[in-house]
């Protein structure tokens, strides 16, 4: 196992070019508004009505605090430190498959006065808060907690809150990471467990804070009990089906042996979706049907929900400027730093 971890780590490191702390799957907006795109990698597994998201925050040096807001399709029952090799093992699996020519071609809604804190978890240098609230409430909570949201955030937050009023806010403290002895390139994997009728992967949010022509690259791995039905079909608008096949027994064994991955079934279908799109193209999410039915057009972001529902700020903290937005494949990371560059007085 150790051998392939080292190899996979090299692959992941190749995606990372920023000198700032960041999520492993992130597009960063610097304090001057410049966007440093990073490839994103996320795993969404679905079994027995439970969705498992695994992603990783990677320490890339620097100092200060960086954060993220991630829309979720449901209320997590557990947010914990993820396993050590799940993402790397998935990358290795599909890279091998590609070389071998194996390649083949819901929700709630919200609006309320303040966001409700459902859960708070600390994982290494990450402070994670699960929120329930409308776009305005979550946006205000984020602002009051030091996030500096990009210009399109209010509309994007409303878009997601109308589908599911659950968000995960994560703040990565680079100074704490250094104090804990984390080295540049070390990742903090996070595993989110939540019951949901069907998996769902927000993609539109990957474009948050970016210009329409900016490129977005992401890899989304799906592990489902059967071959999933996807909407939109991944052959257009910058979305490509890069792997779709029965998962190998060795992959499932390796995944199952990782921390928190005991739920991985004996048989499953592995799908890899590659995103290589301009931000302007990425106007949709990925709706997944794991039971063979037609996926929801609302979940895919192709239709507005008929009856958006509503749940219910939380002042605190010194102002910390949001300098970016990054993606977990399932959502956006709104990065925060300690500076707030603005216009200068003439």
């Amino acid at each position: 196992m150790r051998r392939f971890i080292a190899g996979a780590a090299a692959l992941v490191a190749a995606f990372v070019v920023s000198t700032q702390p960041a999520a492993a799957c992130a597009g960063l907006i610097g304090p001057n508004g410049a966007v440093n795109l990073l490839r994103t990698t996320t795993f969404a597994g679905y079994h027995d009505g439970i969705e498992h998201y695994v992603t990783s925050f990677k320490f890339q040096g620097g100092s200060g605090q960086f954060g993220s807001l991630v829309p979720l399709p449901g209320v997590p029952t557990l947010v914990e430190k993820g396993g050590d090799w799940t993402l790397q093992r998935l990358i290795r699996e599909t890279e091998i498959a590609k070389r071998g020519s194996f390649l083949t071609a819901a929700p709630l809604a919200a609006r309320a006065d303040s966001a409700e804190v459902l859960m708070q978890v600390k994982i290494d240098a990450l402070d994670i808060t699960v929120l329930k609230g409308g776009g305005e409430a979550v946006g205000r909570w984020a602002t009051e907690h030091g996030f500096r949201l990009p210009a399109d955030a209010p509309e994007i937050l409303d878009f997601y809150a109308a589908r599911s009023p659950i968000f995960l806010a994560a703040v990565f403290d680079a100074d704490a990471a250094k104090a804990k002895g984390q080295n540049i390139g070390d990742g903090t994997p996070v595993h989110i467990t939540m019951p949901t009728a069907n998996p769902w992967v927000p993609l539109r949010i990957l474009g948050t804070g970016k210009n329409a022509s900016d490129r977005i690259e992401a890899d989304v791995y799906l592990l489902t009990d059967r071959k999933p039905v996807l909407l939109p079909a991944p052959f257009a608008n910058g979305m490509q089906l890069e792997h779709s096949a029965t998962a190998s027994a060795s992959l499932l064994d390796d995944l199952r042996s990782d921390k928190g991955m005991g739920w991985v079934p004996e048989m499953a279908w592995l799908t890899k979706i590659g995103i290589n799109a301009s931000a302007g193209q990425l106007t949709y999410d990925l709706a997944v049907s794991a039971n063979g039915t037609v996926p929801s057009r609302v979940a895919a972001g192709l239709e507005a929900p008929a009856n958006p529902t509503t749940p219910a700020s939380n002042p605190q903290g010194q102002p910390i400027a949001l300098v970016g937005i990054a993606v977990l494949g399932l959502g956006a990371l709104l990065l925060i730093g300690k500076f707030a560059p603005r216009s200068t007085r003439p």
């Binding site: 907006i29 508004g33 006065d113 949201l149 509309e155 102002p319 200068t344 007085r345």
Partner: protein
């Protein structure tokens, strides 16, 4: 709250559409100015009521191109003590009064990425 602000902004906007407005309402929603084109009489004090209906910070800076060029490269964290530079915290309302010489001015939010996103408006002061 949002509805109240919207109603307020709508009434203020209606004022802005009068023949010679001295009261102008501007609403900020989804990081856009509404209205984004305003005509006012030159040489008359104009009171702007600016409503930030977004859960994020914005600013409203009005001036000529040289003024905006300076602000585009600025580092100042907050405005608010000059009539032509208004900082707007989330869900806030501010008023400012200005008198314009005849000409065309732009109002812009210079937070990173906001101008590119479309937070730009034009004010024409007619003599």
């Amino acid at each position: 709250m949002a509805l109240a602000l919207a109603a307020f902004a709508a009434s203020a906007c209606a004022t802005a559409q009068a023949a010679t407005p001295t009261q102008v309402g501007i609403r900020i929603h989804y990081s856009r100015f509404d209205p984004n084109r305003i005509e006012v009489p030159a040489g008359v004090p104009i009171t702007f009521t600016i409503v930030n209906d977004d859960p994020i910070d914005h600013e409203w800076l009005i001036g000529d191109s040289a003024f905006h060029n300076r602000h585009r490269t600025g580092t100042e964290p907050v405005h608010g003590d000059r009539p032509d530079e208004v900082s707007l915290p989330p869900m806030s309302i501010k008023q400012t009064t200005l008198t314009f010489a005849p000409g065309t001015y732009t109002f812009i939010c210079h937070f990173p990425g906001h101008e590119a996103y479309g937070m730009v408006g034009v004010l024409v002061a007619k003599g």
